[in-house]
Structure formats: C-alpha cells, structure tokens
Amino acid sequence: MSQAELKSSATSDWNAAAIRDRFPILKKEVHGKPLVYLDTAASAQRPDVVIDAVTNFYTNYNANVHRGVHTLSQEATDLWEAARKTLRRFIGATNCKEIIFTRGMTEGVNLVAQSFVRPRVGPGDKIMITAMEHHSNIVPWQLVCEQTGAELVVIPVSQQGEVELDAFAGMLDERVKMLAVMHVSNALGTINPVVEMTRMAKSFDIPVLIDGAQATPHLDVDVQAIGCDFYCVSGHKMYGPTGIGVLYGREELLEAMPPYHGGGEMIRTVTFEKSTWNDLPAKFEAGTPNIAGGIGLGAAARFIEEVGKKKIRTYESGLLAYGTRRLLEIDGLRIVGTAANKASVMSFVVDGIHPHDIGTIIDHAGVAIRTGHHCAMPILKQLGVAGTARASLGMYNTREEIDVLISAVEKACLMLR
C-alpha cells in the first residue's frame, strides 16, 4: 500500500456509508446494476441538503431578490445574501463585495476577460495560460486577443502533466498583463502550484486568475493564502446546483472595473442620457439571478465544511492511490497524467481499445465515466491521445466501487480484444 492509501485507511473517523446516505441518487440502479458514479469531474452529485435547500426555497420563500417591500422578497433576499456570506467564508475572501454570483466558472472568466483585461491590453501585451487549460480558460482569452491585438502565450507542461516552472519563470516580463491558470486539471488531475506561480507572477505585478472549478470540491481553498486577484468557482462541480458559480475578485479591482452585463439590478439610476452603476457586488449581477441555485450552492459549501475539507482530501487521496494502483494492474493500460500532486482524476487509455467503447461497455455494469477530450483538446494532443477514459472521484466513492470499475474495464478488454 502507498503512503496515501495507508493514511486514508487509518482515518477511522471517515464513515463512507453515512456520506453515501446523504446522496439520494446513489441508490439508483443503471442497467439493473447499482450506480457507480465516477464522473464527478463532469458534474458532482447533490447531497440531500442541497436538494432540500432548493426545494425549500421554491416551496416557502420564492420571490425576486432586492426588489420588493413584501415579506417573501425580504426572506428570499436574506437567504440569497446568507449564501454569499457562506461562499465568502468558504474560499476565504475578505468581504461579501468580493463574491459575485455567476452562472458558473465559464462566466467568471469571461467577465474578467472582458471587464478587466480587455480595456488594459493592446498589441505587444501578453495573456498567459498553461498548456493544460480547460477550453473555458482558453477561448475567452483568445477572444480578448482578437479584440485587442494582444498575444496568447502558453506555459509548457511536461509529459507527466506538470507545469514547467523554469520555463514559466523565463517567460515572465512586464508585457504579461494576465496569468490565468487552473488550480486542478479536469483532464489529468494535476494540482498546480498556484501559490508559487502567483508569487512569481506578482514579482512582475501580473494579475492572476485561478480556475478553481475542480479545486473547491477536493481541496481546502483559501484565496488570500494563494494571493490571486480572481478565483472562479463552479457550483455543480462542488455538489451544488448547475447554472451557478462564484467569481471572487479583489475589491479594489472589481471597484475599478466597468460592468460586464447591463440590465436591472446592476444600476443605481437610469436615464436615456446616462446610467450609474450600483455598488459591488450588484454591479456585476445584472438581471434576476439563479436565486435557488445560489442558495443551493451555499448549502453545498456548508455541507463540505461539515464533512471537513481536510478529511475529504485525505480520504480521496487514499482512494486515488488505490484506484491508480488497481488500474495499472490491467494489461495494456496507461494512465494519462502522472503528476506527483494529483486530485480526483484517473484518466487512462488501453492499448487497442477506444475510450468510447470502454465507456459504453462499462455503463452496462452501472459504471459512469466520461470519455473523450474533456474540453482540454490541446493537452491531450500534446500527450498523443485523441481522448481518454476518465474516472473521477468524489467524497462518496469507495474502494468497492473502484473494484467494480476494474472488473468492468477488464470485461471490456476481453470483449474487444
């Protein structure tokens, strides 16, 4: 057994059955087999408290927020703002003005790209990302580059799937106007050294945005400890609803930025000649938001805190080590993404067998994984694969489920070889 495996089996205070009980969908059967959900990196399942928070809102408090003098509207507003407070604490922001509700991680990046970076860059300037980014942390920057003449530069990543820090150091200069990097890779599982990278960028006064979509469900994230300027959170990856997320931004930066979307809620006064903007965070929350989603996300964050971020990390690390070891027992199987520091993700390919066939065959054993390029085409291309099969873990997974995965993949190999 590896260190991580030993450590996790030594944590006697982890009650896997009790955790699983909190996720109603895990009682479901697929093709007559118990569901083995190993696709948390695509979207996590929701615990009862999140489902209840959403239902409770619609059943007992549904009204628009910040709009009415009536009781329901006030109650809805209180719940919505309480969720904001929870998210502030959850990621360690200084105050609630720094917590902008978005539709998800994707909207957060686009907001920063258009409202913060676009007005500040021109020809000769550079926007820097890594070679392993998700498409949502590539395309918004390409749009800004097209709009402004700035250049997108890409920090190389090794064949193990680790950022090449020496190369990164050599690429830093005053013309870099933004560093955007993912905290945890959804395709490879790599945990990037975001603290160190932020520190290096800061020696050139470069603003830093972190894509935290895959980090908040698995790690203890503290934006102030990282020292970044922006941090994007995705609700549905961290056991919350879809269509909701959070953008953390440092207050003085958000204060200076123009609005992203125009509409109701984000204004103070409107005339046909000129409108004035509301204060933070409302300035960036045009229109009626996903109120139930935000409240559900607050419940998800509280749930993670209750289970314990450190305990989750220890348990999942052990599971990841176990799963990796078991997968490697399969003849002809190769893990894609072998960084020293990883979370949740086991991406793999099997000689002579296409990931898509593995996905279909093991679905019939009740096992849900994702196959394909995982919205990270550039890094997979560099690593020489068009796609992978990806099993990704959440707090509810168990060793027994890994065993089901292994025998299902073995069966697929038998069938197709």
Binding site: I353, H354, P355, H356, D357, T360, I361, H364, T371, G372, H373, M377, V385, A386, G387, M415, L416, R417
Partner: protein, 146 residues
C-alpha cells in the same frame, strides 16, 4: 437492445481485422471524417471511374463501432454507382434513426442496426458515410458533431 447486440460478433470481427484498411495512393476522392468529441477520426478513400466506385478504403483511429462501420461500408461500396452510394448513405441514417429503410440495399451493414438503441454512438456509425459523401462532394473534412 443490449450490449451483446451492439458488439455482436460481426461487428467485433470487422473491428479486429478491418477490411480495406489502408491509405489509397492515389485516390480520385478522399475526405476526413472527424468527431473530436468522441475522438473518432478516419479518412475515406475512393477510386471512381465512369460513375462507379472501383475501390474504397479507409484509415484512422476510431472506436469499434466507427471502425466496423467503415470496414463494412468500404466492402459495400465496391462496384456501386455514385447515386447508389448516396442513397445508401441516407438509408443508413434512416436505419439508425429508426425510420423505414431498404434492408436489401443495406445488406452487409445491417449488423449495425442495434446502434440505434445507443444514441450516443450513432454518430460513430455514420461518420464514415458522411466522409464518403463529403469525398464525392469534394469537401475536405466533415464532422458529425453538432
């Protein structure tokens, strides 16, 4: 329909040892079929003379369904007129989208009919047929994603 029908012996055999799996040089017509979402990519080659397909081949990396389909299709195409080939391409889609189709015409490819019960795999099966039509139309690349 179950997994065993989807991956029935005929399909598995075509995947293990695909027919006409080579790069045709020179080909009168060729096009790339690409489904990046699934990671299927294959190129179809045709040799056409006087309105008839003399030979057909393919190459690429794709899942078992896409590979078997291309193997069956290239066997099927030899000796067919271009009109027949296009009609069959449309009928093959009819088969997978559960619409009426001509069994006799598609003989040799109907072992892929069970794919219709696996919506996420239909585009794998039709990829080669789209590439074949694109080759005839002089289009360099097609994708079956939408």
């Amino acid at each position: 329909m179950g997994l065993d029908q989807l991956y029935q012996q005929t399909v598995l055999a075509h995947n293990r040892e695909p027919q006409n799996f080579y790069e045709m040089k020179p080909a009168t017509h060729t096009a790339l079929g690409n489904n990046a979402l699934c990671g299927d990519e294959l190129r179809v080659y045709l040799e056409v003379d006087k309105g008839k397909i003399i030979s057909a081949s393919f190459q690429g990396e794709a899942c078992a369904i896409a590979t078997a389909s291309a193997s069956m299709m290239t066997e099927w195409l030899v000796g067919r007129t271009l009109t027949e080939a296009r009609i069959a391409a449309a009928d093959f889609e009819n088969m997978l989208y559960s619409r009426p189709f001509n069994h006799k015409l598609l003989a040799g490819t109907v072992s892929l009919e069970p794919v219709k019960a696996f919506p996420s795999r239909i585009k794998s099966a039709t990829l080669c047929w789209h590439a074949m039509c694109a080759a005839l139309d002089g289009v360099e690349e097609v994708t079956t994603e939408e």
